[in-house]
Symmetry: C2
Amino acid sequence: MKPDALRGHLDALLLATLDGRELHGYAIIEALQQGSGGALDLPTGTVYPALRRLERAGHVVSDWSTVGGRKRRTYKLTQTGQKALHAERTAWQEFTTVIDGVLGGDGKWAQT
Amino acid sequence: MKPDALRGHLDALLLATLDGRELHGYAIIEALQQGSGGALDLPTGTVYPALRRLERAGHVVSDWSTVGGRKRRTYKLTQTGQKALHAERTAWQEFTTVIDGVLGGDGKWAQT
DNA sequence: AGCTATATGTAGTGCGGCTACACATCGAGC
DNA sequence: GCTCGATGTGTAGCCGCACTACATATAGCT
């Protein structure tokens, strides 16, 4: 999948990944890899700034901890983040419905 | 729907709109409006440059005609365009499958 | 000592859709 | 005959945002 396709949907992915659990950035990347069956391999330069944006927006909060001598910044959703996630899910469904309709349902070829 | 969500999928929409018919730019915009139930209202500044890109890429060819004194540039798919459309449809399905999986299928949120 | 995995972060680039504007013709209304 | 809106095409410049590439640091293995 071409990487740029994520444009505009990254926040949704990150929020969804943090839904119901606390993860640090590195773990988020791995969770997305696994959750997507390896299709998503986001570079740190994409994820970390995005997380900071989400934090600035109040959608997540972060906590520093030290595990095995390495510092971790653990993120979790706020309530606004929960709402934002819900909104993103809705928007995503609308979006796919619209595009699916155009890509497949013009009526020309599916004349049935 | 936020406008930027289209990023990376505009070509697919345009190609799909031209699939099986010839349309000029203005008509493409209207076709997309109708085909999306009004959800898509692409500005000309988005569509025309995109069409030129597609033409430069060899995915469409254009023909000038004059209807009622007004000049129209009518576009239609080439064979490469057909292939590109097919590829775009495939990519779109992969894309939605991946995102759907992350957004909905974590298993965590279904606990409540 | 060097390499990899873990872990976070910044700087700069570049694509591409958007806003805003410009131009042209026709029909309708005044 | 002038303006205004609909039709129709097009360009210039902006800006968001993901990307590439790099910088930094520790732990553990060899």
